[in-house]
């Protein structure tokens, strides 16, 4: 108990001496911490001291920027808009909802051959996939194969939760609005026979998404059985278990579906559609030449002034083509270098008067 009181003394400044014992001092400890004398790094930011920093930043950034810029420039990329709003466009006919299914073909030419793996994207503009309520309109548990969520989707999916008293699988607005154009690419070779380009469906989604996050509901052999009791999203033509014939790419783990479910951050976005794998080192994946794109036009975008694009792009270590980063690096590096020079001048002038500078008030 006595110990208790002593401890309190320190806090509250009780009587300074314990009865009978030696005088207890209230003198604070003379430690560096308590006396606020901890050794400290005290940077003084002046032209002289930070001069190297600016030069170093400049010297590092400019090469990086150049590197990025070159890499980005080396990336081949072609965008083909097939929205069909222009009357001349082959897909203009598909704008009217009466024509179903509507197939249109767009010709284009690759000036230069595409080396290495080529990624095929579809791009949408003015599509606010990042709308707050749109983003929320999904049920991750359902997509993860939770059987109770399958039949009783989250409220977040409203109003795409139930249709005709049946739970929708996959529920929600995201799934409901899934991109459903079909794109096919043909190389118009030297001969009259167009060669279809092999488009790989698998490998476009993240591995973790396909294997962990998205799972088909458990149950019987048949995917259709597993989805029993559910109905397809309103806008879909086929139920979810009929997205693909390959059982590894069907149902919730259909990669097109998975890619769509990863909602885009900005209203203009592209999504990976297919992979065109390099066949051999000798031949370019997509040789220069004329191609045509065969589009099964299902997805309406004119209601929101949207655009639809097909993008073919090679890929580098830094992803797709993007000149911005390289230019920014070069610019900032140059600015930093310039500032360094300015500071050098300042420092030079300043040093001459430094003896008096720090004492004048």
């Amino acid at each position: 108990m006595a110990m208790n009181y002593n401890a309190k003394d320190e806090v509250d400044g009780g009587p300074p001496c314990a009865p009978g014992g030696p005088a207890k001092t209230r003198r604070p400890d003379n430690t560096a911490f308590k006396q606020q004398r901890l050794p400290a790094w005290q940077p003084i930011l002046t032209a002289g001291t930070v001069l190297p920093t600016f030069f170093i930043i400049g010297l590092i950034f400019i090469p990086i920027g150049i590197g990025i810029f070159v890499t980005s420039n080396n990336i081949r990329e072609i965008e083909i808009d097939y929205t069909g709003t222009e009357p001349s466009s082959p897909c203009n006919k598909c704008l009217s909802p009466n024509v179903t299914p509507c197939i249109c073909t767009i010709n284009f030419t690759l000036e230069k051959s595409f080396e290495g793996n080529v990624f095929m994207y579809y791009g949408l503009s003015n599509f606010y996939q990042n709308h707050r309520r749109y983003v929320k309109s999904r049920d991750d548990s359902q997509l993860n194969g939770d059987s109770s969520a399958l039949l009783n989707p989250s409220k977040e999916c409203e109003p795409y939760r139930r249709n005709e008293d049946k739970p929708i699988a996959p529920c929600g607005a995201i799934a409901n609005s899934m991109f459903n154009d079909t794109l096919e690419l043909f190389l118009i070779g030297n001969g009259s026979y167009p060669t279809p380009i092999t488009l790989k469906k698998k490998g476009i989604a993240w591995w973790t998404d396909k294997n962990v996050k998205f799972r088909n509901p458990p149950g019987g052999e048949n995917l259709q059985e597993r989805f029993k009791g559910t109905t397809k999203p309103v806008n879909w033509l086929k139920p979810v278990y009929m997205l693909d014939s390959d059982p590894d790419n069907n149902g919730f783990i259909n990669e097109d579906f998975i890619v769509w479910m990863r909602t885009a951050a900005l209203p203009t976005f592209r999504k990976l559609y297919r992979l065109i794998e390099r066949k051999s080192d000798l031949h370019p994946t997509l040789p220069a030449g004329r191609y045509y794109l065969n589009i099964t036009y299902n997805y309406p975008v004119h209601s929101f002034d949207g655009r639809k694009r097909m993008i073919l792009s090679t890929i580098s270590w830094m992803g797709g083509k993007n000149p911005f980063l390289g230019i920014a690096y070069i610019a900032i590096g140059s600015i930093s270098f310039l500032l360094g020079v300015v500071l050098l001048v300042i420092n030079h002038k300043y040093r001459n008067s430094s003896n008096t500078a720090d004492i004048t008030i």
Partner: protein
């Protein structure tokens, strides 16, 4: 047994210091109180302010029953909460804060489905965390209080039990009003009780109130009149009186009531009869009292108002900026709402990505925009920093911790360090512009040293004493540290111990040979040899410097003429030379007895000495022998066995019983009775001796009284004020030793005459209205009733008898004495001495009886007793004969001039508010460098308001003229209350204003002029100011100039001023703890103030302001990321970050660094800050946190958020990036930007900073990685699964983060660099000093100061020239600003005029050293 006692005292201190209770709470806790209130209003007592207390026993059983639960019992509860009501009550209290309500509103808002932005649970998180943290803090505090309460409640005391007919042990909590309690020595009083019995034969009980007010001297309490005579202990069974007294109130110094006996006879009760809860019984074997107030109704508890809550200027500023943030938030939300409406209206048809309402309907754009407004408020809520308030509180705690741990504030003598009593205004210390200081005890030591006296018109300047003090100081300065430590710690140690502990230390005596010059032989002769003298514990006001007075040789010569024969012819008028001698005797007798000093012997600490020692008494005359025999005979008659000195213990009760009953004072009018009473006094003395013997016998076996001389020199005097003690010690030096004091008599040992026992008829204590005190005694030699009065010279001089009845010549003589004394007084005051006048008056018995009758009436009245007593005192204290005057030096505290100089340099205007005379005050002001020798000094001392106004305007014109000439800024806006203050104009002016004139100046019409005038002056001295005026001055300056004020004081008279000022500082000095109790900070010495303000104030201010700015920056920068994103998501309120990360970002990842920054940031080292007080000015001007800096910070935040958003935006634009993939680099870059921003802003980085910053970054990554890895579906619909992992493998992520961070921080970094090189602030330049080696440093400091002077010099030159051109030479002492006839205004120069008296040519030598001593101390 000492341990619990110690403990309780501690508890009390803690309780008094820390318990917070308010009225609402009381009614909450104590329903019985309500009943009490009802009861009181029912009883038709006058004004319902009285309470009746009847014993809790048989005769009043019925009556007692009538008050069922009327009065609270003694159980105390200072806790706010109980286990049951903690949660609701704490929540209730917390939601009193507007900020918390705002966040509660947000939480509720988020439950509205239409506007829901986040998940409901997540929005609650910040609020819950903040509330929980505060609740935990409150809970812990309360639990601590609860434990203390419990321990106090369970203390044991002895309460009379009717059942057992005896006093039985009972817990404190079970004590009720009406209980009889018996307490032994050293026990703590459990409740307020009326003292009914004391074992002390005179019915005295001593209490120590240190637990209550910190005053360590003993206070006397008296048994209720009428009970003193009872020879045995009061029998509760027979107690049949009832007590009627005031209702509980918190005035410690007031208790009014009466005790009504069964025969309807009433006896007045006063505070002298009241024992206060929390005090300790001392020096008294046992006491019995009846409880009148218990528990929370005791005065101690009612005084326990708890800690003070003040809002600092910085916090007020921050609150306005929070409001700006709210405005910003509203604007942003409106933008969002508008944007959403427009966005929505662009589309005619149903959108594929726009989700209709559940019922399928589409909201109109207007309605959707309206909803969106609220959604945005939820989304952007972080803009209003919820954690700001919590962080500020934590930072303040840390700052207080460091202030309290500063070893420089430690005072070894008192073993005390700085106390921070207000926890939330530390940063105000850095912004003080006006300082109001008390003089006595604050600037000075309040250790009174007797310096000079004037008796019958002759000045005795005590040259030897001056020399002694001088050499003392030298001697002390060498080994001060050592002896002070020793003495201080020993003194403290002993003080805290029980009576049985004795400490012997003769350190002071060791110095004696070297210090005593002329008077040494005398002093040594009088003592039994210096080395043998035992100096025991250091009683209050009794350091050797104060106690050893070397007598003046000339006065001693005159003293030696004193023979008993002088008194043989009782008509004093016959012999002229004898008159002077008689006056001298009277003078010293007055010094010795006209006070309330308690005498105690050091070897029996706190025991009264009342043994008129026989052995060593020098027998001088027949008179004495006769006297002696008389005593012997009395002694013998009462107890024959004393000679042996060994009284068998069983004999003691006999002697108690056989004691003659003391007569009531009322009846002591005739000499015959006086004889009796004197003999009874003798017997009292004897029996007491006997008692002591008995007490001591177990200890040393011999009970003989120590010889008189050694006894005299080792007596300890405990006085309520140090002046009194100083005078008593001075009298002792002249062999006029106060030997004992009881309520009935005072014994003075006069060397020439032997011990004289004065019958003490009455004491009129000192009060600030009368400014004097008087004792009425019966002179043992002349047998007359004599009134000795001591008081302020201005008061006494007015009360002197105009016409002496003794004849014209005498009258003339009196007049000359009076004039001479007045001259001496003026001289003393000029030397900075405190002056007191001593006067006396002889009364006839009939006169006295007449007065006494009236006085008694006044004493027994309850209602307007104060006024009546004052009138009664006026009737007594008139027609006085002046005896002389004394000059007491109050030495300046160590380091005061340096501190004041530093504070002046720091741009703080210092006002000295004192109750002292003008001359004394001015002198001290010069000594402590408040006024410089070449300052212009204006004196405002007028008798009328008009004159005051005229004078002020004249001075103002003069100053303005000078100012116009000296600087080219003539525009003086008189219409504004805040005149352009000529800060560095070179004119240094001081203003002295007297209390009377101050009253005029404080009038509404003159306030503005007065303030304008004072703003020109660096220093203002207000003398003769009353406590009320002090606080009014502070209030005036504070409210009209809108400046930060600080008041510092040590005494009760400073309390009001301390409470009014923005910061009140109490100096825990000699005058008790009232000032400390009222203060926000308590320091032990004035010089600590400079470090407190210049270093800690500066630090606290810059730290907190920078932290608050940083907080705003942080929140705005981060929230704006969300805002910019709205432009790309159709203003739909989407957040691109996972909600958890979003919330935790502010709550955890970036919350610790600012706190560390706020606690540990150190822009300039303490040494540099102390050496360059000018740096303080930045805080005064609020440079660190001005509206401009706030907006610049906000602008920077906007820029950084723009960069932080758009660099990733352009990088990822058009790519397949998804929302969280986009948000993650944004978030990560923001983290780095925010943390590195802090690094740029930090002026010093310790390992703690590094640890915290690295820890924050790590925790962020660990959290996002772990969350990304584990949360597959856990937090729908937001899902950051595997995002961070993907990014960690992506080089672009790193590139984006690096680029963003660099671009965002580049402007601020560049600005700081340019600032450091091109236009560094003084603080930045001062920072260089910390890097220099000591030699370089002193060199640089010198240069700095020179540069500073150079800047000031030109203006001073112009000032001088202006002076000359104006034909008014600056140093002219006779330069007068008009109206000398109406007023007494003079420009005084710094040189202290030396007006030596004609009698003391030697004194001039000592003058120089005198001055040096006072200024150098």
């Amino acid at each position: 047994m000492t341990e619990p006692r110690q403990w309780t005292r501690r508890c009390w201190q803690r309780l008094i210091g820390g318990a917070a209770r308010d009225d609402g709470e009381r009614s909450y806790d104590y329903s019985s109180l309500l009943a009490c209130g009802g009861k009181v209003s029912q009883t038709p007592r006058p004004a319902g302010r009285h309470r009746v207390v009847v014993p809790h026993l048989w005769p009043f059983k019925d009556e007692y029953e009538k008050f069922p639960g009327a009065y609270v019992n003694n159980r105390i509860r200072t806790t706010k909460y109980t286990l049951l009501n903690f949660v609701p009550r704490n929540l209730f209290e917390q939601f009193h804060r507007v900020a918390n309500l705002y966040f509660l509103f947000l939480v509720v808002l988020n439950w509205v489905p239409l506007v829901e932005a986040f998940q409901k649970e997540i929005t609650m998180l910040p609020l819950v965390v903040v509330l929980t943290m505060i609740a935990i803090k409150d809970g812990l505090e309360d639990y601590r209080k609860y434990k203390i309460d419990k321990q106090i409640n369970n203390l044991v005391t002895k309460v009379y039990s009717r059942k057992e007919k005896n006093y039985v042990d009972r817990c404190w909590k079970d004590v009720t009003v009406g209980d009889f309690i018996r307490l032994s020595c050293n026990e703590v009083i459990p409740a307020d009780m009326v003292l009914l019995f004391s074992t002390d034969p005179d019915g005295i009980c001593h209490i120590e109130t240190s637990g209550l007010d910190g005053e360590s001297n003993l206070k006397q309490r008296q048994v209720v009149r009428g009970y003193t005579e009872q020879d045995s202990e009061v029998d509760p069974e027979k107690f049949s009186s009832r007590i009627e007294c005031e209702s509980p109130n918190n005035d410690l110094n007031r208790f009014r009531g009466f005790l009504e006996h069964s025969n309807k006879e009433r006896v007045g009760l006063s505070k002298e009869n009241l024992l206060l809860r929390g005090c300790t019984i001392r020096n008294t074997e046992a006491v019995v009292g009846i409880v009148v107030y218990a528990g929370h109704e005791t005065k101690a508890m009612l005084n326990n108002s708890g800690p003070r809550y003040k809002r600092s200027k910085l916090e007020r500023r921050a609150n306005t900026d929070v409001l700006w943030c709210v405005l910003l938030l509203v604007i942003m939300c409106l933008t969002g709402a508008l944007g959403h409406g427009i966005w929505l209206s662009r589309y005619e048809s149903t959108l594929i990505f726009y989700i209709p309402e559940p019922d399928g309907r589409i909201l109109s754009p207007v309605l959707a925009g309206f909803y969106m407004f609220w959604t945005m408020i939820i989304l952007l809520q972080v803009l209003i920093p919820i954690s700001l308030y919590v962080s500020i509180e934590i930072v303040k705690l840390g700052q207080i911790y460091f202030i309290q741990n500063d070893v420089d504030f430690y005072n070894e003598k008192m073993n005390s360090t700085v106390q921070c009593r207000a926890l939330n205004i530390a940063e105000d210390l850095g912004q003080i512009q006006y300082l109001f200081s008390d003089k006595t005890g604050t600037l000075t030591e309040n250790k009174m040293v007797f310096r000079r006296c004037s008796v019958v018109g002759f000045d005795y300047c005590h040259e030897e004493n001056a020399k002694r003090l001088e050499s003392y100081q030298e001697a002390v300065s060498e080994d001060e540290d050592f002896t002070d430590t020793l003495g201080g710690s020993l003194g403290n140690m002993v003080k805290q111990r029980n009576h049985s502990c004795r400490t012997v230390h003769n350190g002071p005596m060791g110095r004696k040979p070297s210090t005593h010059v002329a008077g040494s032989s005398f002093t040594l002769g009088s003592g039994e040899g210096g080395s043998e003298m035992l100096h025991s514990r250091q009683a209050a006001f009794s350091s050797p410097m104060e106690t050893d007075v070397v007598p003046d040789t000339r006065l001693l010569d005159k003293f030696s003429q004193i023979t008993p024969q002088l008194f043989s012819p009782l008509d004093e008028t016959t012999q002229h030379p004898a008159l002077e001698t008689l006056h001298i005797i009277d003078f010293f007798i007055a010094l010795a007895i006209c006070n309330t000093v308690v005498v105690s012997a050091p070897n029996q600490p706190r025991q009264k000495i009342r043994c008129p020692s026989l052995g060593g008494m020098p027998i001088k005359s027949l008179e004495d022998i006769k006297n002696l025999f008389q005593r012997w005979s009395v002694r013998r008659s009462s107890s024959p066995s004393l000679a042996g000195g060994k009284e068998p213990p069983s004999g003691a009760p006999v002697s108690f019983v056989s004691r003659l009953p003391l007569l009531n004072r009322m009846k002591l009018a005739s000499p015959v009775e006086e004889e009796v009473s004197q003999s009874s006094g003798g017997s009292a003395c004897y029996t007491d001796t006997e008692k002591q013997n008995r007490d001591e016998s177990p200890m040393n076996g011999k009970g003989e009284c120590p010889p008189a001389q050694s006894l005299a020199s080792s007596l300890c005097y405990e006085a309520e004020s140090p002046d009194e003690a100083a005078l008593v010690y001075a009298a002792r030096a002249y062999q006029c030793t106060l030997q004992s004091r009881t309520p009935e008599q005072v014994t003075v040992d006069l060397a020439a005459l032997g011990p004289l026992t004065f019958q003490l008829l009455h004491i009129l204590p000192f009060d600030s209205v009368r400014k004097r005190m008087s004792v009425v005694v019966r002179h043992p030699l002349s047998n007359q009733v004599v009134v000795y009065t001591k008081g302020a010279d201005s008061v006494i001089m007015e009360l002197l008898s105009a016409a002496s009845p003794d004849g014209a010549s005498l009258e003339k003589q009196q007049m000359t004495i009076r004039d001479k004394t007045q001259k001496h007084l003026d001289d003393y005051a000029k030397r900075g001495l405190r002056t007191l006048c001593i006067a006396r008056k002889v009364m006839s018995d009939t006169e006295y009886a007449e007065w006494l009758r009236n006085h008694f009436l006044a004493e027994t009245s309850i209602d307007n007793r104060e006024e009546l007593l004052l009138e009664s005192a006026m009737r007594l204290e008139n027609k006085l004969t002046l005896l002389g005057a004394t000059g007491i030096e109050d030495r300046l505290q160590e380091g005061v001039p340096e501190s004041i100089e530093a504070l002046h340099k720091a741009g703080i205007k210092i006002w000295m508010l004192t109750g002292d005379k003008q001359e004394t005050a001015v002198n001290i002001a010069y000594a402590c460098k408040l006024l410089e020798p070449n300052d212009k000094l204006f004196v405002l001392n007028t008798q009328s308001q008009d004159a005051c106004e005229m004078l002020m305007s004249t001075i103002l014109q003069e100053l303005q003229k000078k100012y116009r000439v000296s600087s080219e800024q003539p525009s003086l806006r008189v219409d504004l209350l805040r005149p352009p203050v000529p800060q560095d104009s070179g004119i240094r002016a001081g203003l002295v204003i007297t209390g009377r004139t101050l009253e005029f100046a404080l009038q509404e019409s003159l306030q503005r002029q007065f303030l304008e005038l004072t703003s020109w002056c660096q220093a203002v001295v207000c003398c003769r100011a009353t406590p009320l005026q002090k606080s009014e001055v502070v209030k005036l300056v504070r409210s009209h100039l809108r400046v930060m004020t600080l008041a510092i004081g040590d005494g009760a008279n400073d309390v009001s001023m301390i409470q009014v000022a923005d910061i009140g500082i109490g100096v825990s000095g000699q005058e008790g703890m009232q000032a400390v109790m009222a203060s926000d900070f308590a320091i032990s010495q004035f010089r600590h103030l400079s470090k407190l303000l210049l270093v800690h104030g500066h630090w606290c201010y810059t730290r907190l302001s920078n932290m608050i700015l940083y907080f705003f920056y942080k929140n705005v920068a981060y929230v704006n990321l969300l805002f910019w994103y709205q432009f790309f998501c159709g203003f739909s309120g989407t957040s691109m970050t996972d909600y958890w990360v979003l919330i935790l970002f502010n709550l955890f990842f970036t919350s610790a660094p600012p706190v560390i920054y706020g606690v540990l940031e150190k822009d300039v080292s303490a040494d540099t800050l102390l050496q360059l007080p000018e740096l303080y000015k930045s805080g005064q001007k609020s440079e660190a946190y001005s509206p401009l800096t706030f907006w610049i910070t906000l602008l920077d935040a906007f820029y950084q958020s723009l960069v932080c958003f758009f660099v990733p935006y352009f990088t990822y634009r058009g790519s397949d990036i998804d929302i969280f993939m986009f948000g993650n680099p944004l978030n990560t870059a923001a983290l780095f930007i925010i943390l590195l921003h802090l690094v740029i802003e930090s002026k010093s980085l310790t390992w703690i900073h590094v640890l915290v910053i690295v820890g924050s970054i790590l925790s962020y990554f660990v959290f996002t990685l772990a969350f990304g890895a584990m949360c597959v579906t856990c937090n729908p619909p937001s899902n950051p699964y595997w995002i961070m992992q993907e990014h960690m493998l992506d080089p672009v992520f790193y590139l984006v983060c690096v680029l963003t961070t660099c671009v965002a921080l580049l402007p601020r970094f560049t600005y700081r660099v340019l600032q450091g090189s091109l236009f560094p602030s003084p603080i930045l330049r001062a920072k260089y000093f910390d890097r220099l080696t000591p030699e370089e440093r002193t060199e640089a400091l010198k240069k700095w100061r020179e540069a500073g002077k150079k800047n000031q010099l030109p203006s001073q030159c112009t000032d001088q020239s202006a002076d000359k051109s104006g034909g008014r030479p600056l140093p002219g002492p006779s330069a007068v600003f008009a109206m000398k006839s109406a007023t007494s205004c003079a420009i005084k120069q710094g040189d202290i005029s030396v007006c030596e008296t004609a009698f003391d040519p030697q004194c001039s030598e000592s003058k120089a050293s005198d001055m040096a001593g006072s200024s150098g101390s």
